[in-house]
């Protein structure tokens, strides 16, 4: 019997190297799918002339999980747990955009407290994602220690997420109709502890990197891509803001009550790896500002919408009231029904604009769910970014995109 490993892996073969106009021989090099800096299983076929890249082609699809298709077989509330798995670093953003999209179809009104909790949790998620990004990006450029400092804070943050949802990573906290659980007792203390400590930690990162000439040399002027190209390729998020375009769905098309919060859309004009680093670093501070506002202005009241056909009843009610028991049975066994229609909702995830497009045929399962994920759009900018640069710049440029392969391939 042949073992699985004996079968050759079928894949798009890399193009044969060409002779350059100057007569120099070029070399074709596979970077990935198994490579320490492609953050997963991205494959880039690069053509080299010495150390200079003459052509680069990203090849995606190695982490295709078929999540979009899987969603069609799950009931509306089961899909929430799948959205967690799309992008493991900003799962709450995926939760949120899914919940918002379905609520748009249902025309559901969400109580204020739930909105605040959603905003707060997705800002935590943003900080979490940026922390992992900063750590791995700096590690790619060669400085190891930063990674551990970032993960120290991430650990604190995950503890907060666990406190709220019972889960560290795949929280599934934001659900259709509100949030899964009310903020637990003592949450203010927990959040305040993080809010008090974190600013000094961001300053620490800045101190470590801002005056380091090697870091500046490696990031300044590297990974440039013209704004026109970005807009055409669908690059969004910190990359676009690093090019001076203040595009942030939180500000341009507010959702979930973001219009009530005071925060700055961070932009930078340099349009290089350094600019993207600055934008993300400042975004961490802005996110913290939003969390602080949530902490101070958290309204009371219900944490779930008053929609018995959609939201699971409280445990106590289910045991004592006949109607509640029926609703519970209906929701759990066949799921709630969503009216016919199609809807598109975009929000700002840590990586850029994430949007779900949902078609419902009126049953208890989505007919079609399409995800417009920021990683996919951002990755399109790779080729124009690194052609003509050096191998080392590929790493810096890749890191500055902050993609998650699960998010790219779905």
């Amino acid at each position: 019997m042949r073992s699985a490993i004996d079968y050759p892996v079928e894949s798009r073969p890399a193009p044969e190297p060409q002779e350059s106009p100057t007569g120099q021989r070029r070399m074709t090099l596979n970077m990935g799918p198994q490579h320490p800096s492609t953050h997963g299983v991205l494959r880039i076929v690069i053509e080299l002339e010495g150390e200079t890249i003459t052509r680069a082609e990203p090849d995606i699809g190695y982490l295709h999980t078929g999540i979009e298709k899987q969603c069609e077989t799950k009931t509306w509330q089961q899909v929430t747990t799948l959205t967690d798995r799309v992008d493991y670093l900003s799962n709450l953003a995926n939760n949120l955009v899914y919940a918002l999209t379905v609520e748009k179809l249902l025309e559901l009104e969400i109580p204020e407290r739930a909105k605040y909790l959603r905003v707060m949790m997705s800002e935590f998620s943003r900080i979490n994602s940026h922390l992992v990004w900063l750590g791995t990006h700096v590690l790619d450029i060669g400085a190891m220690s930063m990674f551990f400092y970032c993960f120290r804070e991430r650990e604190e943050l995950l503890r907060v997420l666990e406190f709220f949802s019972g889960q560290r990573m795949m929280t599934s906290y934001i659900r259709v109709g509100g949030v899964a659980l009310d903020a637990p007792r003592g949450w203010e203390k927990m959040v305040r502890k993080f809010v008090d400590v974190f600013p000094s930690r961001v300053d620490e990162y800045e101190n470590l990197l801002e005056k380091n000439p090697i870091w500046l040399n490696r990031t300044k002027g590297v990974g440039y891509i013209s704004v026109e190209d970005m807009l055409e390729l669908g690059v969004t998020g910190p990359m676009l803001r690093g090019a001076g375009i203040a595009m942030d769905a939180r500000r341009t098309e507010p959702y979930s009550g973001y219009e009530k919060f005071d925060f700055r859309v961070c932009t930078h004009t340099d349009n290089d790896v350094y600019a993207r680093y600055r934008v993300r670093l400042e975004e961490m501070r802005e996110s913290l500002k939003i969390i602080k506002q949530c902490l101070e202005g958290m309204p009371g009241g219900a944490f779930q919408a008053d929609a018995p056909k959609v939201v699971l009843p409280e445990r106590e009610k289910m045991k004592t009231q006949m109607e509640a028991l029926i609703y519970h049975f209906k929701i759990v066994t066949e799921g709630f029904r969503v009216p016919k229609g199609e809807v598109y909702q975009a929000i700002e995830s840590p990586r850029g604009e994430i949007a779900y497009y949902i078609v419902s045929d009126g049953t208890s399962k989505p007919y079609r769910l399409h995800m417009r994920t920021p990683s996919f759009g951002n990755l399109q900018g790779l080729s124009p970014m690194i052609e003509g640069a050096l191998i080392a710049d590929t790493i810096a440029a890749l890191g500055s995109m902050d993609f998650v392969l699960g998010d790219t391939d779905r």
């Binding site: 894949s11 190297p17 596979n30 198994q34 013209s226 676009l240 595009m247 003509g388």
Partner: protein, 143 residues
């Protein structure tokens, strides 16, 4: 105390033998002691999990050869400096000006290769288009 100049090199010789034995055992020992298992997949050159295209023993950039040549030229200069430094105090100003002349001659070549771009590694950067100014909301304007 060593009796002859030659005897002084005896420890170096012994050390060389020990180093050779050690280096050889380091490189060979695991082939002897370790287990052996081969498979065609294991035998392919590592290229991030893909089947490699082309041969790695290809021609490579001329710049690497250039660096080697420049190094040889300038390192000879450095070698000349060693005996010069040892007798410097005896010759004083004569040595200084003589070496100044020598270094000046070498520096002419150094500036020549600098100007010729032999020390530049990256190909010139592509011209950058100017980005928009901060705060302009191009997104909104476009929409």
């Amino acid at each position: 105390m060593p009796t002859s100049e030659l005897e002084k090199y005896f420890p170096v010789l012994v050390m060389a033998v020990i180093a050779a034995v050690m280096a050889a055992s380091l490189t060979i020992l695991s082939s002897v002691l370790g287990k052996r298992s081969k498979s065609p997949q294991k035998d392919t050159p590592y290229e991030c999990g893909m089947a490699p295209t082309g041969d790695a023993r290809d021609r490579f950039s001329i710049k690497f050869y250039l660096v080697a040549m420049i190094f040889i030229l300038l390192d000879i200069e450095a070698v000349f400096l060693y005996p010069w430094a040892v007798v410097y105090r005896q010759l004083k100003w004569f040595a200084f000006f003589e070496m100044l002349l020598f270094i000046a001659l070498v520096l002419v070549g150094y500036f020549y290769i600098w100007k010729k771009g032999a020390l530049d590694w990256a190909i010139p950067e592509r011209p950058r288009k100017a980005g928009p100014k901060t705060g302009t909301n191009l997104y909104r304007e476009a929409a």
